[in-house]
Symmetry: C3
């Protein structure tokens, strides 16, 4: 054995080839079993990895830009305000947002507020001689700072006087049906441009077969107009399984989901948006604590004497969040190779499984085992163990 | 064979060692082929997995916070408005956004609107004795509710009277060149703080070698000032390959991309932002349906009698969306081990490939096959099959 | 060997079973070593892959919707403005945002601005007979367009006259302590609805055991009220390790992180939000260039003659970005199978490692090597190589 010399080792390293020795068992049962398991693995690799999970593709996530535009007017008629018209500039607050649009549906209006002294609302701060007010105190739900005086709120009730924007807003009664219930008929045009950076592919949701005239008249409909990017607000809410008039009272958050899953191995015209709608807030019907969505907002005015007044609006409404999802896949050699490789590696499992069956459950396992295994005694411990003789 | 006893099985399980038997073929051709394939696998593992894909690193995605501030004034001179100056508080709407900033570039102004009755625009609602107006009807593109009367819009045309904010906005002619075309010279300072949660690393785009005085005078330039966080709007649009004066007319959406890819195995000072710009809307030049970006916005006033009036603005402009991307990598033992492991497993493929070549294409394949394989007859079916004798 | 016939090949392909021949070495040392390495691999697979990384689960990332509502009033008393109260509609700008809320904490107010001519601030544009002003020039930091005149700014200094909103804002002195330092006591209610699309699971951060009355009085506290969704602004800043009164002066950006990591194999009630807070801007304390967060904002007024004036506000404040993170995992058969499979594949590594040890470091390596290897001479080149005889 002169092969341990240095030159020999390099020689052997370069020019020798190691290949496992194989016992080739001619047996229909085992052979078929083996092929059957391999077939299962092949089916998994092709069916699941390649066809279902598209293992031959590289993937990229969508980058998106959204703009939206609401259209519609509604007339209200109340004793307080008279006949009044509301258009886009009135009911969209703020005028533009990045991936959302807020539409006012209900309103508690407090006009002509000026800074001054007035009684607090009864709910939070009743007062009497026994229960006096604390100057400088600000309650958690309060609208101003207590002056310390106890003044009549109306003919029966006395409350603490506060320094605040007066008169104080009274939001105990939310208008029901909602003040701008007609918002149901408003439409929103959503313009969505997407981009798959890795593949340098970009598209917009106004597809190339949509003409200007179609865009002026169409309205989204799951069945008949699935690619019209103009949505009636009432339909959005209805498709999400909610009632618009209920939602309009307390407000809420709706999600407009745009799904751009694309197989870029096919023609780009097959890459189209899929719209779906869901309500994003208030999923627990039985636990309706702090429902809806509202915020406060003011318009400021100055009279000729420079005194500032404001109109405070507690605005209830529906915020439409536009959520753009999507993954695009395109054939790429690297994931293909990796998946073929790891698929091939799985074939080894077939042999392991067959071996387990053959050498444990077959009647003639000893016969096969003798062919597969070569028993090599321990060189050092040729003496038998206590367990028995293993010659 | 007393090894099937229970004690023997445990003994064998613990103290026996299974190793595949190897046929070591001394052949220059096969040996070199084998080493060559292994070299290819090694090159792939080291070159692709470790150097290119940085398989020895753990990765984290950036968390980012962006604030922005626009500077600049522009003077306009029109017959309607006279000489007027526009500064930040006038042309940024809304005053602050999270990852975006909107700059007004064009404007259709309708001053002194009050709620009342006036004729609708001719485009949508011509009327005559034969084609009367419907009281209460609201057209899709309409600005108000029809009263049912047919009134003269001008000396030649009659349109339906509507209850609306009057006079109605006439947006048929978009000013071209854009009203605030001078916005090209505005600058925007972008402050971007990033954070890699997994590595507890944070940085800002105002690098530590940027002084206050440099920040007052610098302007981003790909070549000379690549780290100055102050961008001239005109340059942003130009770098994206668009024309500012074109874009200013109808508005649009620009993306300011900040890329923070960092190799945290190197010094943190090498981790710097890379800016790039692209237009996010309107990628299909030949299909220019519903271009640009605009929204409506109103300023509300009250006269001394408490009558509300408003100035309606149809605002066209460019929204700059600031998109922050980034992945940081740092050496970690676990991905390193996993990649070394799966790289080692790939070496098995070399043997499979060599075997395929040796046992199918070599002239002397029978000689080698006999050495590698041991033919084991089926114990049960020692009788030959119909296909031929397999003794 | 009639097996090379076509029929024979198909027969052999179907009914032959290849299994590697194994040398079973009876040696306590090697056997134990092998089992020890296998035990390590098993421990890694079970401990790391299955228990730590939850390899038996499929994962999904959270989809979230956030609304917020701030409460609180503060009174200020300055010589310029007198006693003034600030409530939600005054200090939240804009009134609603998608995943953020901005609270004004400091303010530079410039009242009664009208468009006209006035001297520029001294800082940027001193002038004299030697250093004249340029008509039409707009400085980078300037508030208007120079008319070319040099006019007295005060009794000692002359500056260029500009056409601008006059008088020009003087923001050299930022109020310290902050004007609305009392914002520390404001509270913000955060309503967060999350959704795991893959598992069709949704939750909100107002947990089902939170009653309306608890929600009216509670305040978040890491220890005592970890699930109360109402946060005192001062506490948020304090928990992030910052000082509110410092931050209030120049403004800043705070992150409110909500972590929704959920193990959906357990009961859904264990899936609860975890709040944490960090400051998102200004991480480099030693390099405090361009600190804080501010923007300009105007309220517009019209007097009885139709002349527009405005109140310009340079608003400093804290923007609270609400960042919702989260991953949910649930048992799924596919990742389980994949991880078991690749775990099993790792067992092969044990044999490779043992072989390396046995055949390189064991004294009796030649004895074992002879049993494992079968030396096959090259059929073509039976003549010895130059390196020595290899019979």
């Amino acid at each position: 054995m002169s092969r341990d010399g240095c030159c020999g080792q390099v020689y052997s390293c370069l020019f020798d080839y190691d290949t496992p020795r194989i016992a080739l068992i001619k047996s229909r049962k085992i052979g078929l079993l083996n092929r059957f398991i391999q077939l299962g693995i092949l089916a998994y690799v092709i069916g699941w990895v390649f066809i279902w999970e598209k293992g031959y593709q590289e993937f990229d996530t969508v980058v998106s830009s959204v703009t939206s535009k609401v259209k519609g007017v509604v007339v209200t008629n109340t004793t307080e305000l008279g006949v009044k018209i509301w258009d886009v500039a009135d009911y969209i607050i703020p005028a533009q947002e990045e991936n959302a649009v807020f539409v006012m549906t209900n309103l508690i209006l407090t006009q002509n507020q000026t800074q001054g002294h007035c009684p607090e609302l009864p709910e939070t701060s009743f007062c009497s001689k026994e229960q006096p007010c604390t100057p400088g105190y600000v309650g958690k739900q309060s609208n101003g700072v207590q002056t310390g005086k106890c003044v009549p709120y109306n003919s029966t009730v006395k409350t603490c006087e506060i320094f605040a924007w007066c008169p104080v807003e009274n939001d105990t009664h939310v208008p029901d049906p909602a003040f701008l219930n007609g918002a149901e008929n408003f439409t929103v045009l959503i313009k969505n441009n997407i981009w798959y950076p890795k593949f340098q592919v970009s598209k917009r949701n106004i597809l190339s077969n949509i003409s200007s005239s179609y865009l002026k008249t169409c309205q989204y409909d799951k069945v008949n107009h699935p690619f019209c990017p103009i949505f009636r607000l009432g339909n959005i809410v209805k498709e999400a399984g909610e009632s618009f008039s209920d939602m309009a009272v307390q407000g809420g958050v709706m999600g407009i989901q745009i799904n751009w899953n694309c197989d870029l191995d096919r023609k780009l015209t097959y890459c189209v948006p899929k719209y779906s709608f869901r309500r994003l807030d208030n999923r627990e019907i039985d636990h309706n604590v702090s429902p809806g969505y509202n915020f406060r907002f003011a318009k400021y005015y100055k009279d000729s004497n420079g005194v500032e007044s404001r109109t405070l609006m507690k605005v209830y409404g529906i915020r439409f969040d536009i959520l753009v999802f999507g993954t695009a896949g395109k054939f790429d050699i690297i994931p293909t190779m990796i998946n073929i490789g790891s698929g091939a590696a799985l074939f080894g499992v077939a042999t392991v499984l067959c071996d387990m069956i053959v050498f444990h459950f077959f009647k003639k396992r000893h016969y096969y085992r003798e062919k597969k295994y070569k028993y090599v005694e321990d060189y050092d411990e040729l003496v038998g163990s206590e367990c028995g003789s293993n010659p």
